[in-house]
């Protein structure tokens, strides 16, 4: 089936692909080596293709007058040229496009080679076609299915990022119902034409992809743009400046369980509940450098946040200045919870202490003992 020349060039191709991948991992400067190796890949694959098409230039038997009749139309020259265009564009635009080009080229060359081999496999065009399928369908179908599904899912996610939350929810319901109705239809009318079913699916997919393209060009919804600009990782301890944060963080986090303590604010009283201690506590022992999770549970009517006052730290500027070292949760509305992650490396300096307070609630604090 595969000629000696083909095996040789295929071997070179595979090895140079391996070398290319390795050079990406190993070398810091891949530019020259990368281009050289990519070219080697392309050249070797091309020669391999030629070798198989021409049967190593060995024209004695096999290829006969009929062979021209057996050749079917092929899209692979077209795809190959698209790959080459990607390759060239990639050199200018970005390495992602470049490697996309390599992937397309390799795929096209493989398909092309197998096709041209199969077209000469026998004198029977049907047999040749089925030989091709037997070899390539097990690869083509999964790859195409994954690609197709990926495109549809990606498009749908773009739509979801663009429309507002309620529309998004409605769209989910609508799509879900459509799928359900379609399923029911198929179930009731099993003798329905296959082409009709296919048409419906294709139409749906095209609709979603089109919607995705429109959404992607019009950008994500305003809310998300604003949220991205807010610094959620370092919440402000003063006025709440961010608007789009998780209002009930602990409700959605696995951190719910096994926290060090739950700090409760009820009727202006701040208390700590710790597993093992029967009574609410006013002080909390935290070992040095141990990551410690606390839940702040606000049961009072206003929005509050929990703040850990951990002495002072060096300020960014001016040189030598210090500022209060505060760590805080985001605002929690009545009945909601927020998380506080503390890691305290050293005990409070002599005569001072670390504590948890709630700005706006006077005279209440919980001492943080770091032994």
């Amino acid at each position: 089936m595969f000629s000696t020349g083909f095996k040789y060039f295929m071997g070179v191709t595979v090895l140079s692909v391996v070398a290319l991948i390795m050079s990406l991992f190993v070398l810091d400067q891949v530019a020259i080596a990368g281009v050289a190796l990519s070219m080697l890949v392309v050249a070797a694959a091309l020669l391999g293709g030629i070798a198989v098409v021409t049967r190593d230039g060995n024209r004695q038997s096999g290829v006969n007058e009929q062979s021209t009749d057996l050749v079917s139309q092929s899209i692979w020259p077209l795809v190959t040229s698209i790959g080459v265009v990607f390759l060239a564009l990639g050199l200018v635009i970005s390495s992602a496009v470049f490697f996309g080009g390599i992937v397309i080229l390799l795929a096209a060359l493989a398909e092309w080679m197998v096709q041209s081999w199969s077209e000469r496999a026998s004198k029977d065009a049907n047999y040749n076609a089925s030989a091709r399928k037997r070899l390539l369908n097990p690869i083509e179908f999964p790859v195409l299915a994954a690609l197709g599904l990926g495109i549809v899912i990606f498009s749908f996610s773009r739509i979801m990022l663009t429309v507002d939350k309620t529309t998004g929810a409605s769209l989910f319901i609508v799509f879900g119902s459509l799928v359900l109705i379609g399923g029911i239809l198929f179930a009731i009318k099993p003798d329905m034409k296959r082409s009709l079913g296919a048409a419906i699916c294709v139409l749906g997919a095209v609709g979603i992809v089109a919607g995705g393209i429109v959404s992607a060009t019009s950008g994500v919804r305003e809310e998300l743009v604003v949220a991205k600009g807010e610094s959620h990782m370092a919440p402000e301890c003063g006025e709440e400046r961010s608007e789009h944060f998780d209002k009930n963080a602990t409700g959605t986090l696995s951190l719910r369980s096994s926290v060090s303590a739950t700090i409760e604010l009820l009727d202006g009283q701040l208390t700590a509940r710790l597993v093992g201690f029967q009574d609410p506590q006013k002080s909390l022992t935290i070992s040095r450098s141990a990551p410690t999770n606390l839940i702040f549970h606000n049961l009072d009517a206003k929005d509050y946040r929990l703040v850990a006052e951990l002495g002072t730290r060096a300020a960014a500027e001016p040189e030598g200045a210090t500022e209060k070292n505060l760590v805080c949760t985001q605002l929690a509305a009545q009945g909601f919870e927020q998380l506080l992650l503390l890691k305290i490396d050293k005990p409070a300096p002599e005569g001072t202490s670390y504590r948890l307070v709630v700005p706006g609630v006077e005279g209440q604090s919980i001492e943080l003992v770091v032994p």
Binding site: S258, G276, Q278, S287, R288, A290, L341, E350
Partner: protein, 416 residues
């Protein structure tokens, strides 16, 4: 024995063993069975899960014994049935019997019986799990923090037990007998697991989480355990010991742990040791009450030097019997035996005596100070700390002179 004599001897040994197996295989079987049974109830097996020394371990034992018995009987029945069928229906060229497909009554019976047995076991297992998970009857709380490769214990303020300021210790967990102690476990680096088989099962210590483990000892004594979650290079050396003291002895221990720091006598070797300690050790090890030469308290900064952000607090080092994850004894062999083999009514007194000059295991402590990474595998090679941003895991080699080591040992001996 020269070479050929050795050869002859080995040959003789092999043939006699072979002969014995041939003729006396029954004796051999009996002997090995006996030694197996003897090994399983060995006296000197401190981490034997079949010897509960407290109510929590007893809950597990009460479940484990009957389940083991039931499983043993079933295992025996199955084994006998298999051997019987193998022998009885061995291929002797007899015709293949008629093949039938399925036998519903038999199959259903054979499904229901094991299901019932498992259901009964499950009921008792769940009961035990819930009993062991209880936290609302706690009498005393101890925070336990694991790190590579030792355990830290800190006792939050609990006035009922005379603990008026936090106590920190490592290696040996000291607890009063007959008291429902609840460990609040966590970790500073990777997951560890706390296990003292005589007192309870295992509980993982997970960074960022607090997991609880009930402990209660019936009688004074020292119970050993070890980390049971693989945690890196010296996992095998991450041991722990629970020291159960009578309530009176525990109160004495608490009082001693809270005693104020006593600086070594002027112009003593120990005082020179204190200076070396301030120079070399304080960047990692806290000694509560230790002052720098300028009169400010010496606050250790293990977070800047050690990956886990901690090193053992040495304030009362000599009140413990072991060091470095309970891997080495602070007591010499003889003194250690005196404490560990003491009857339960005096073990407390012996333990509270701590480590004296005469009883100190000079050899191991000096080796530790000379080159700790040689005693215990640790990531402490300063040229290979890229992964931890230059921080050690464990205690590094400090290039101390023998002179300095002597001074340090003298100083450490004052930390009682």
């Amino acid at each position: 024995m020269n070479h050929s004599a050795k050869h002859l001897y080995l040959k003789h040994l092999v043939t006699s063993v072979l002969r014995m197996v041939g003729k006396k295989s029954r004796t051999l079987f009996g002997v090995s069975l006996l030694s197996f049974i003897a090994a399983s109830c060995a006296k000197n097996a401190p981490q034997d899960t079949w010897q509960p020394k407290g109510p929590n371990a007893k809950i597990i034992d009460d479940l484990q014994q009957p389940v083991f018995a039931v499983a043993g009987v079933i295992g025996l029945i199955v084994a006998v049935a298999v051997i019987y069928s193998v022998l009885k229906y061995k291929d002797r060229g007899q015709p293949i019997p008629e093949q039938t497909h399925g036998k519903p009554a038999l199959e259903i019976t054979l499904t229901i019986i094991p299901a019932l047995i498992l259901a009964v076991v499950a009921v008792f297992t769940f009961g035990a799990i819930f009993k062991l998970a209880k936290t609302d009857d706690t009498e005393m709380i101890i925070n336990v923090t694991g790190q590579q490769w030792w355990w830290e214990y800190d006792y939050p303020v609990q006035n009922d037990f005379g603990i008026t300021q936090p106590i920190i210790s490592s290696g040996q967990l000291v607890l009063p007998v007959g008291t429902k102690v609840l460990l609040r476990e966590t970790s500073r680096d990777v997951i560890h697991s706390y296990w003292i088989p005589a007192l309870n099962g295992k509980r993982d210590a997970v960074p960022g989480r607090i997991q609880t483990l009930r402990l209660e000892a019936d009688e004074p004594g020292i119970f050993t355990g070890q980390c049971t979650e693989f945690c890196g290079l010296s996992h095998a050396n991450m041991r722990m010991e629970a020291v159960a003291l009578s309530k009176a002895d525990f109160a004495k221990w608490v009082a001693n742990q809270q005693a104020a720091y006593v600086a070594p006598a002027k112009d003593s070797l120990a005082q020179q040791g204190e200076a070396v300690f301030l120079n070399q050790c304080v960047r990692c090890h806290q000694v509560n009450g230790l002052m720098r030469a300028d009169g400010t308290p010496a606050i250790a900064a293990p977070d800047e030097n050690v990956w886990s952000g901690s090193a053992p607090n040495l304030t009362h080092l000599m009140s413990r019997n072991t060091f470095a994850g309970a891997s080495f004894d602070l007591l010499s062999k003889q003194c250690r035996d005196e404490v560990w083999n003491a009857p339960s009514d005096v073990i407390g007194t012996k333990y509270l005596a701590g480590v004296s000059q005469d009883c100190l295991n000079q050899k191991d402590l000096r080796s530790w100070l000379r080159n700790a990474p040689e005693m215990l595998p640790m990531y402490a090679n300063p040229t290979q700390l890229a992964a931890t941003g230059g921080k050690y895991r464990g205690m590094p080699y400090l290039a101390l002179s023998e002179d300095d080591i002597s001074k340090l040992v003298a100083y450490l001996l004052t930390l009682k």
